[in-house]
Amino acid sequence: MGIRFILMVNKQGQTRLAQYYEWLTLEERRALEGEIVRKCLARNEQQCSFVEHRNYKIVYRRYASLFFLVGVDNDENELAILEFIHLLVETMDRHFGNVCELDIMFHLEKAHFMLEEMVMNGSIVETSKANILTPIQLMDKSS
């Protein structure tokens, strides 16, 4: 299915955004998040951005105080997912203007809308920042 989940977690291990494309119960989610975050936080800068966990891979990258983690199937192109994470960050940056963790926290729905425009059902839908942000800007103007 491609992408299984997207998480944004800060350095203390608190989840700031969680989008799952397959169904997991609340306990499973918490356990999963805890395990993965521990693994990623323990790695240093030199090590590669891919971690193998159970039967899928986690691709992660740290931007300031926030970790972006994407869980993918084993046959997915990891380098492409790294690019996708960067695209996501750039899109949010363009919208919020110098995005930081607090922006995401206080405008959680907007972050979700953006993510929804980009990824649907585990596959990447749209890669052009302009196209992604148009509906969101329209909505902001109308409300």
Partner: protein
């Protein structure tokens, strides 16, 4: 006013939560908020509905249950305004999943929204549908989605495409309807639609093979052209990433081409040019370029062979491998594993780099590199590679050691060119990481040692030395203790020294010291102590001077709380005290353990494990060199593999020993039919003329049964009992002997002289138009559980049968033994017959009657015929 009323904005709530110092505080805040929200829901408060839902979503993300908000989502979705709908759909996707029944209620709203005039609302509905629809909803709304695939707005089209993917996955039957619209999507210009269209086609091809055919025929040229256009397109600000236009689309197209080209030579030909172009022209300085190259290499490896392209691909991989960026190296190692199937030579060239990667500081890279090295090993490079791996074993960290040890052991076993090298390597591994070594591995080592008779002296000396230095490695201690016990005299007398060894002086009491250390050190480990006890017993026979000391050590375990140890120490003590005269005969050197049988049995028991193991996607099997030797193991569905007791008509030497343990020594005494090859061995064992195999078979069954921990002590007892009746049994194997003198306090196992047991009527077990099989039963006295069956086959047709083979399988509570048949040609029309003897042991005799599944195969007029059946009509009390 209540500060936590629903008037609070989302950000105030978030602030409040962030201000909490402890988890308990946070829980309190959340609880209050939830209560307020619940109150608002009850009052059906319109104004703050979407604010409440936003709060709910935040709370849900923190991990608290929020199911009371689900109906709110529905109300929001049903309302008219866009922001409300937006939040409602978002809530729907986050808080619900396809299994909830509430979802069905949304179907109607979704249908209306799909037909809405505002395209953004249509987009919303498609989004929601695409993320969480269930199979019924998919079926209901599929026609709408199909229509939307041709909508005027590209945004809606792209969302409809992704939605269709989910529909197809949920309801594969609907796939045919989507084939045509999907292929027309491939001709679009808008990138978003293209990406999703390509994705849709990929999933269609995976789900339905006719879709695959259709897309192959019609769309490949179009796809190639699109890829070429994108690769050559000028700078486009919208989609540019690091100088490349829309790398995501590149990658998607390459993936689809891969699926289309796999297994189809024509399709692969069309793609060759564009693949070469992408592979050579893409810039690899940035991650985006590397991502495209990675995908390209994967595609080249999967489609049909084209020499030039493959070389190109492997060169790219080589470049990746020497890149300093860890991500790139990881990806390269991944690809190389697939490349090895295709072109092993090229990958061998990079062996040195890969070895370096095994030692890398990054755990992910280490893991990949180790798997790759494992695939690279062949006879010519096994020695240097193993040397490197073992050196690394010493410095690797704990989590990695287990993996590494397992791989080294299976490598060594598979490819060892000579025995002495194998023993050396295994010794090193055991000294370093004995605790990670699995049981079968050191069992195999013992088998090999016993087979290498010229190396016995060398082995035991090496083990002794190793034992002095690393006593905490369990497996090493076990193997050392066994060898010292077996070959202690070689150790002391420096027998069989090889040129490369240094002389070492070991006295008899030194060896006893060593074993004593083993017992004291590993007070908690049953297997080690048990093995040490029997080693001591062997030493007492080899070095009579130390008997007293050994006896003292053994006696210390007489009151042990573990039954096995207590029993052993009492028995051995008896032997030492009362039976010195037979002691040396009892404890002679063990015979060579049969390697073929051992690995056959091991492979047989791992039969199911192999078929379910995941491992790398190619046909190499880890560590099992010889094929499974159980011929009947797959004879139809008799509950489980170990249910069917393999019926070996050749007679496994070891199997016999362990199988016959349960039916004490009456086997040799008076079988009415002359025993064939299988039972021959047994008779030999138990006759006096060939004592060494006999007595040592007891220790064989001891060792093997103790290390498998699955035979009851009773088996040992019976084993010892039956076999120790021999020395007294000097004259006739047939006359039984009371067991009194060996086992104090144990009554004699009655062995009446042979007379035929109660007669059973013969049975026509199987009859068809061409064949009849009759069973004649007899039982031996004193052994009600075992039945001897003579099977007679008669040919009822006018044709001769050749290559006649009878096979049988029985359920778990039975044990079956087949002797070879009298011949394998069955003359026609009953002019002759074939007889074959079977022995069945029923552990539930009296409670369950016998049942057997049979298979008869023969050649008639050069055609193979197979007959199968089940026999359920055995007499009840067999």
């Amino acid at each position: 006013m209540n500060p936590f009323s629903s008037g609070t904005r989302l950000r105030d709530m978030i602030r409040a939560i962030r201000a909490c110092k402890t988890a308990a505080e946070e829980r309190a805040v959340v609880r209050k908020e939830c209560a307020a929200i619940r109150a608002a829901i009850n009052e059906n408060d319109q104004d703050y509905r979407h604010r409440n839902l936003a709060k709910l979503m935040f709370i849900h993300m923190l991990g608290y249950p929020t199911h009371f908000g689900q109906m709110e989502c529905l109300k929001l979705i049903a309302s008219a305004g866009f922001p409300e709908k937006r939040i409602g759909y978002l809530g729907l996707m986050l808080l619900l999943d396809e299994r909830q029944e509430v979802l069905m209620l949304v179907t109607n709203s979704l249908k209306q929204d799909l037909n809405h005039s505002n395209q953004y609302i249509v987009g919303l509905a498609l989004c929601a549908l695409g993320n969480i629809c269930s199979a019924e909803m998919a079926r209901d709304l599929a026609p709408e989605v199909e229509r939307l695939l041709q909508f005027r707005d590209p945004n809606v089209r792209k969302k409809a495409a992704l939605c269709s993917i989910r529909i197809i996955k949920k309801v594969p039957d609907l796939a045919e309807n989507f084939i045509n619209p999907a292929s027309s999507l491939l001709k679009e210009k808008h990138h978003g639609v293209l990406i999703t269209g390509v994705q849709l086609c990929m999933d269609l091809c995976k789900v339905s093979s006719e879709a695959l055919e259709y897309v192959r025929k019609k769309c490949i040229e179009g796809l190639v052209k699109t890829l070429r256009d994108i690769a050559n397109s000028p700078y486009s600000p919208e989609y540019d990433i690091a100088g490349i236009t829309d790398p995501f689309l590149h990658i998607r197209l390459l993936k689809l081409l891969r699926i289309l080209g796999q297994g189809d030579a024509d399709a692969s030909d069309c793609m060759n040019d564009i693949l070469a172009q992408v592979a050579t022209k893409t810039e690899s300085k940035k991650n985006a370029g590397n991502a495209i190259l990675y995908e390209c290499v994967e595609t080249i490896m999967s489609i049909e062979d084209n020499g030039g392209l493959r070389v190109l691909a492997i060169n790219i991989l080589g470049r990746f491998l020497s890149n300093r960026d860890n991500n790139i190296r990881y990806v390269a190692l991944n690809m190389l594993m697939k490349a090895i199937v295709v072109d092993a030579q090229a990958v061998q060239r990079h062996r040195a780099t890969i070895l370096e990667c095994v030692k890398d500081s990054d755990a992910s890279i280490r893991k990949r590199a180790l798997e790759l090295v494992y695939l690279l090993v062949n006879e010519s490079n096994v020695k240097p590679l193993t040397k490197e791996l073992i050196e690394y074993l010493e410095v690797s960290d704990q989590e990695f050691k287990g993996d590494l040890t397992a791989k080294i052991c299976s490598l060594v076993e598979k490819f060892s060119p000579e025995k002495i090298w194998y023993i050396d390597q295994m010794l090193k591994v055991l000294s370093e990481a004995g605790n990670f070594v699995k049981d079968e591995v050191w069992h195999a080592l013992i088998v090999v040692i016993s087979n290498a008779s010229d190396l016995h002296g060398y082995t035991v000396r090496a083990l002794y030395r190793a034992f002095q230095t690393s006593t905490e490695q369990e497996s090493l201690v076990r193997v050392a203790v066994w060898c010292i016990g077996e070959y202690g005299d070689m150790l002391v007398n420096n027998v069989g020294m090889l040129d490369i060894e240094e002389p070492i002086t070991v006295t008899e009491s030194d060896t006893v010291d060593a074993v004593e250390v083993a017992i004291k050190r590993h007070t908690l480990d049953l297997t080690t102590k048990a093995m040490a006890l029997i080693a001591l017993l062997k030493l007492s026979s080899r070095f009579p001077s130390c008997s007293e000391r050994i006896k003292d050590i053994i006696v210390q375990n007489k009151r042990s709380l573990m039954l096995e140890l207590q029993q052993r120490s009492i028995e051995f003590n008896c032997i030492l005290q009362k039976h010195q005269n037979i002691r040396s005969a009892l404890l002679e050197r063990m015979p060579v353990l049969d390697e073929a049988t051992f690995s056959g049995r091991r492979a047989g028991s791992l039969h199911t494990a192999i078929s379910t193991s995941t491992g790398a996607p190619h046909n190499l099997q880890n560590g099992i060199a010889k094929p499974a030797a159980a011929p009947i193991a797959d004879l139809l569905d008799l509950s489980s593999d170990d249910a069917a007791a393999p019926s070996s008509s050749g007679g496994d030497f070891l199997m016999d020993l362990l199988g016959v343990d349960l039916s004490p020594a009456s086997a040799p005494s008076g079988t009415s039919q002359p025993p064939k090859a299988g039972t021959d061995v047994l008779l030999d064992l138990l006759s006096i003329g060939t004592s060494p195999p006999a007595q040592s078979s007891s220790s064989a069954s001891d060792i093997l049964s103790s290390s498998q921990d699955n035979k009851a002590p009773l088996a040992n007892l019976n084993g010892l009992a039956s076999l120790s009746s021999l020395p007294a049994n000097a004259t006739s194997p047939a006359s039984p002997v009371p067991m009194m003198d060996l086992l104090d306090g144990l009554g004699p196992i009655p062995q009446k002289h042979e007379e035929n047991g109660p007669a059973y009527p013969s049975l026509v077990a199987y009859e068809s138009s061409s064949l009849r099989m009759t069973f004649n039963f007899s039982k031996q006295p004193g052994n009600p559980q075992m039945t001897l069956i003579q099977a007679t086959f008669t040919n009822l047709s006018p044709n001769v049968y050749n290559d006649f083979l009878f096979q049988a399988a029985v359920p778990k509570f039975l044990q079956l033994h087949l002797d070879p048949a009298s011949s394998n040609t069955l003359p026609a029309s009953g002019n002759g017959s074939i007889t074959q003897n079977l022995k069945v042991t029923n552990s539930q005799q009296g409670k369950k009657s016998l049942v057997m599944r049979i298979r008869i195969a023969y050649k008639m007029n050069n055609k193979d015929v197979l007959e199968e059946g089940q026999i359920n009509n055995f007499p009840r009390d067999l």
